[in-house]
């Protein structure tokens, strides 16, 4: 028999089961995109005020060291003139795209955005970033 805890978890899981209507054709013909679809696809991902959502348990979270480090990195990048906070928000909360916006953790987005600004503004090449990530990974193998 399932415990009360397992039953509550079951409710959470079935609440996430939803029918999906997949379009049979990616990159559809332009004449199939009306104003409403155009607006939906080109929306700013961060503009979510008023969207329906369900009651959840409000939680606190203990901060990870890497999250605090990320926050300080992003503020230092702005302090030293690499970007301003509004550029960061645009990149982090809109440019990132709908899937990563909702799929990545909050500070995961800050971190990806800090990595990309360095490459976009040519302070670092992508090659250098890739090699550095590889080097860091190897320290922990």
């Amino acid at each position: 028999m399932s415990s009360r805890k397992q039953l509550m978890k079951h409710y959470q899981l079935v609440g996430q089961l939803q029918p999906a209507l997949h379009a049979p054709q990616h990159a559809p013909y332009p004449d199939t995109i009306d104003h409403a679809l155009y607006r939906a696809y080109t929306r700013s991902a961060h503009d979510i005020g008023g969207e329906p959502d369900v009651p959840i348990t409000w939680e606190e979270k203990e901060e990870e060291q890497w999250e605090l480090n990320t926050f300080a990195t992003c503020e230092c990048l702005a302090w030293r003139g690499i970007w301003n906070a509004e550029e960061r928000r645009r990149r982090q909360n809109v440019d990132l795209g709908q899937t990563q916006y909702l799929g990545l953790p909050y500070y995961g987005r800050w971190l990806m955005t800090a990595a990309l600004i360095m490459v976009d503004k040519q302070y670092v090449t992508l090659t250098e970033l890739v090699n550095k990530i590889d080097e860091v990974k190897k320290r922990y193998e």
Partner: protein
């Protein structure tokens, strides 16, 4: 599988962890910070100084601002018109406290204090991201950052407030403040009954972070935010104090 061997401050190795994996985020964070420092984007000292600044932040100055406003009507009037000036009197300089000397990049320098009355209750959200008055209130709580809170508070404020344990009569105007630009808000709640003759310190003790966001109201005897589940960190922040 990745294993990290660490020694604690006494040079003892902890018992070998079952699995102590380094996450993709931790790898990327180190890579970004090391590269930024190597390329001269900022220094290791800059990063340490900013982290130290963040460690100084918390809700006490905002609580003291509210307590001061409760006992001093002239200060209250000033706080409601000029939040940055009022912050100076509780030891917060929005422009110069932090290493930049031009404010924090993300929080700017325009605090507005939202005054509740018996007929007006404010509650704060940032629907577009999670803007928060860090220099006077510290880091935002996790729930404030969730898409859920950001979606629902502006449209169903009474339902969301009820989930936080706050229900107000229909004739009280609930005003949701959506901090979508450079202004940052704190709520100045109504001083509760049963606090007559209290000192500023006593009053500040019952002004919790949740009261300053607007999802709770101050009550004599209640000195902490409501208990909620706490999602633990895998590698929590080190505190060197």
């Amino acid at each position: 599988m990745a294993k990290k061997h660490t020694e604690d401050e006494h040079g003892h190795r902890p018992p070998a962890p079952m699995v102590d994996e380094i996450s993709d985020f931790e790898v990327l964070e180190m890579a970004v910070r090391e590269l930024a420092i190597e390329k001269g984007l900022f220094s290791a000292d800059d990063h340490r100084r900013w982290t130290e600044y963040v460690h100084t932040l918390g809700p006490l100055p905002a609580a003291r601002l509210v307590a001061k406003a409760w006992v001093n009507p002239a200060y209250k009037k000033m706080a409601v018109t000029d939040g940055v000036k009022a912050s100076l009197e509780v030891g917060v300089d929005w422009i110069n406290d932090m290493p930049t000397h031009f404010g924090t990049p993300s929080d700017y320098c325009n605090l507005r204090v939202l005054e509740d009355t018996p007929k007006l209750k404010h509650v704060v959200v940032c629907t577009l991201c999670s803007c928060y008055p860090r220099p006077i209130l510290g880091q935002s709580p996790e729930w404030y950052r969730t898409p859920n809170y950001r979606r629902r508070l502006v449209r169903w404020p009474r339902q969301v407030l009820a989930e936080f344990g706050l229900q107000l009569p229909p004739d009280v105007e609930i005003r949701v403040a959506d901090s979508n630009q450079k202004t940052r808000y704190i709520v100045l709640p109504v001083r509760p009954a049963g606090t007559e003759g209290w000192t500023e310190e006593q009053l500040a003790e019952i002004v919790t972070r949740d009261c300053l966001i607007g999802v709770a109201v101050p009550k004599p005897g209640v000195k902490a935010n409501a208990k909620r589940p706490v999602h633990p960190a895998v590698h929590p922040v080190h505190h060197d104090h």
